[in-house]
């Protein structure tokens, strides 16, 4: 991993316009992902992880909208691309391993046709020669057998479908792969194997990986750097080592404390209160109503993401 960033997100704000008002699903998010880096993105359900991923792909659906911010993919601002330019960028430069892999394959199309679709759309007719071989090779790369190419999705198990999604995601050797909770629907054993496969192929093609998840323990073994999201805000971002050894944000500290460990026998998740309603987020720091260390200013002022040590970013007033 080196420091030149493949992806840089600056001041991203995504709102869903509902009749009750704007849901601030992503609020002031700043991050970068290095070349070849595996970047973990964690936070509880509904905190805006998927929305951030979809924003990168410019696939936020109505009533959602990117209200502000830049998304720079190798310096190219995706927010400013027109629909056709963005369509050509998708998959060729950024691919997605979707959250619902079970249902993300077209039920009436053979696996090979679904992979071929992506290849032919972006590479044109010339890619036809040797296409079947190429698709089968891709399937072998992710640990599937060649005959899977001829099958339909319903003939595959959940783990196999997820592998197909992985094969599809690397078909065009993109610079960045976004995996949105790729294994959350699989059982633990399959989860590990599929994740292992994902890492292998990611390293082979030298792509960067954004791995979205809520399992800190799983993430810790896989990614280089972690970003913690809470209520639409990025609250902490640092290497896995720093996050686990010296978590700074009170929310991160609770999360780390909740990772089950036989040594410490801590009771999991001891966080009072509910996740914030993003429709009417609390003023000041979104986390302050549940924070044991909240200061007076936390109720009124939003803490910006701040580099408190080299490459360790925290958004908390305790460290100003």
């Amino acid at each position: 991993m080196n420091t030149d960033a493949v992806l840089r997100i600056n001041n991203l704000h995504v709102h869903y316009q509902t009749p009750q008002g704007a849901v601030k699903a992503v609020d002031e998010v700043n991050l970068f992902v290095g070349r070849g880096e595996r970047f973990g993105f964690v936070g509880e359900s509904g905190c805006g992880k998927t929305t951030t991923a979809l924003a990168i792909l410019q696939m936020i659906q109505y009533p959602g909208k990117i209200v502000a911010g830049e998304i720079l993919l190798e310096g190219k601002n995706l927010v400013e691309l027109n629909a056709e330019e963005m369509r050509r960028t998708r998959w060729r430069e950024v691919s997605l391993i979707p959250q619902g892999a079970m249902s993300s394959l077209n039920p009436v199309m053979r696996i090979k046709d679904q992979i071929a679709d992506a290849i032919l759309t972006h590479e044109g007719r010339s890619a036809r020669t040797g296409l079947n071989q190429r698709i089968e090779d891709l399937l072998v790369t992710v640990g599937l057998q060649r005959p899977v190419a001829q099958m339909f999705p319903h003939e595959l198990s959940g783990g196999m479908k997820q592998r197909v999604c992985v094969a599809m995601a690397i078909a065009l050797k993109p610079k960045l792969i976004i995996a949105d909770e790729p294994t959350s629907a699989l059982d633990v054993v399959v989860q590990r194997i599929v994740t292992q496969t994902l890492i292998e192929v990611q390293e082979r093609i030298g792509a960067s990986l954004i791995l979205i998840g809520h399992d800190m323990g799983l993430q810790a073994q896989i990614v280089h750097r972690l970003a913690i999201m809470y209520g639409g805000h990025l609250v902490e971002m640092a290497t896995v080592k720093k996050i686990f050894q010296a978590p700074q944000h009170p929310y991160t500290q609770v999360l780390i404390g909740s990772v089950p460990s036989p040594k410490t026998k801590k009771s999991p998740f001891a966080l009072p209160g509910l996740p914030p309603a993003l429709l009417n987020p609390p003023p000041g720091c979104v986390f302050h109503p549940r924070c044991a260390k909240a200061l007076e200013m936390c109720r009124t002022q939003v803490p910006p993401l701040h580099e408190i040590q080299a490459a360790h970013f925290v958004a908390c007033h305790l460290y100003r």
């Binding site: 109505y62 369509r87 691919s95 077209n106 039920p107 992506a118």
Partner: protein
């Protein structure tokens, strides 16, 4: 794919059983109805000519129609004849064979109704899908919406309105029939053009009335499909909007429509009655209508049989071909 030889054989056997049951019912019903068709026939004859020896004629007619044989023999012969599509002679157009009359009427019905059904299915499915597709321009959606209104209008009402406007008020299209009176039926451009001109109004009425239903049917399915995960992934793959529309959205959303289409095609014959009567077209529907009025039992039975066979055959085709459309459906026994 999902089909096994055993399944195909079983399914075809089932088709034959359905036809056998239909033929049996055809055999039984007239024998349960009070009244004697031979006497009815005699009564009709008596209106036009003097009947001298009624008893002898009755005897002769009974023999002609095989009504003098024992009931088992009558039944066996009836079933056999049904499968050979032989329903004897029409009473109304005596002594023409029922089979011949049906065969003569069939092309008109199929030509008009199969075409309009397929046309309205194709157009309606596409229009209904575009109605909710987010890539459709706003103006196109506005233009398409009024067509769903036709789902609420029965086709015969539309037919009468069309007839009134185009044939009586504006006099730009013929009022009925399949060709101008006196035109020679031959494969010339003039004759074919003449027939097509006569088909415009009934076809427009049927197609337009069907359109709304197909549009509403696909619209609901399309909304569900648009929210599916595989559509999202198709977008993420950077496929063109057109490809996503046809290969991912419409392809899946139309599966239930295909079932409806096949059933609609099977019901063409019965659906034809009113339109053929309104436009005096010499098709099966009109034939059935006149036969009922005349209590022409052999004719009614023949047409009913055709109806049953066409529905059963459509369903058979659907069962055999559906696995090709939806690979999740399999008929192989595990």
């Amino acid at each position: 794919m999902g089909l096994s030889v055993g399944y195909v054989i079983r399914r075809i056997a089932m088709f034959l059983v359905v036809i056998w049951v239909a033929a049996t019912i055809n055999f039984i019903i007239p024998r349960l109805v009070p009244g004697d068709p031979i006497q009815t026939m005699l009564a009709h004859m008596a209106q036009t000519e003097r009947i001298e020896n009624a008893a002898a004629i009755t005897q002769e007619l009974r023999a002609t129609y095989g009504l003098d044989a024992p009931i088992q023999e009558q039944y066996a012969r009836y079933i056999l004849n049904s499968f050979r599509f032989d329903f004897g002679l029409s009473l109304n157009q005596f002594p023409t064979k029922v089979g011949d009359l049906v065969l003569r009427a069939m092309p008109w019905t199929i030509g008009l109704l199969a075409t309009t059904t397929l046309l309205s299915f194709g157009l309606g499915t596409l229009m209904g899908a575009l109605l909710v597709w987010r890539g459709t321009p706003r103006w196109a959606q506005v233009m398409l919406t009024p067509f769903t209104f036709f789902a609420a209008v029965p086709y015969f009402l539309l037919a009468v309105v069309f007839l009134y406007l185009f044939a009586y008020v504006w006099k730009i299209l013929p009022t009925g029939g399949v060709a101008t009176a006196g035109a020679k039926a031959e494969w010339t451009l003039a004759y074919v053009g003449d027939v097509l001109q006569h088909f415009i109004l009934p076809a427009a009425a049927m197609a337009l009335a069907g359109l709304g239903n197909w549009m509403l049917g696909i619209r609901g399915m399309m909304v569900t499909t648009i929210g599916a995960d595989y559509l999202n992934l198709a977008y993420a793959k950077g496929l063109t909007d057109r490809r996503i529309f046809f290969r991912y959205a419409l392809r899946n959303a139309m599966l239930p429509q295909v079932t409806s289409l096949v059933i609609a095609l099977g019901h063409i014959v019965s659906g034809a009655i009113l339109i053929e009567v309104i436009f005096t077209l010499p098709g099966i529907g009109n034939l059935l209508y006149r036969s009922i009025g005349f209590l022409d039992y052999p004719m009614i039975q023949g047409i009913t049989f055709v109806l049953v066979v066409s529905v059963a055959f459509s369903v058979l085709l659907l069962d055999l071909f559906y696995p090709r459309l939806d690979p999740r459906i399999t008929y192989t026994r595990k």
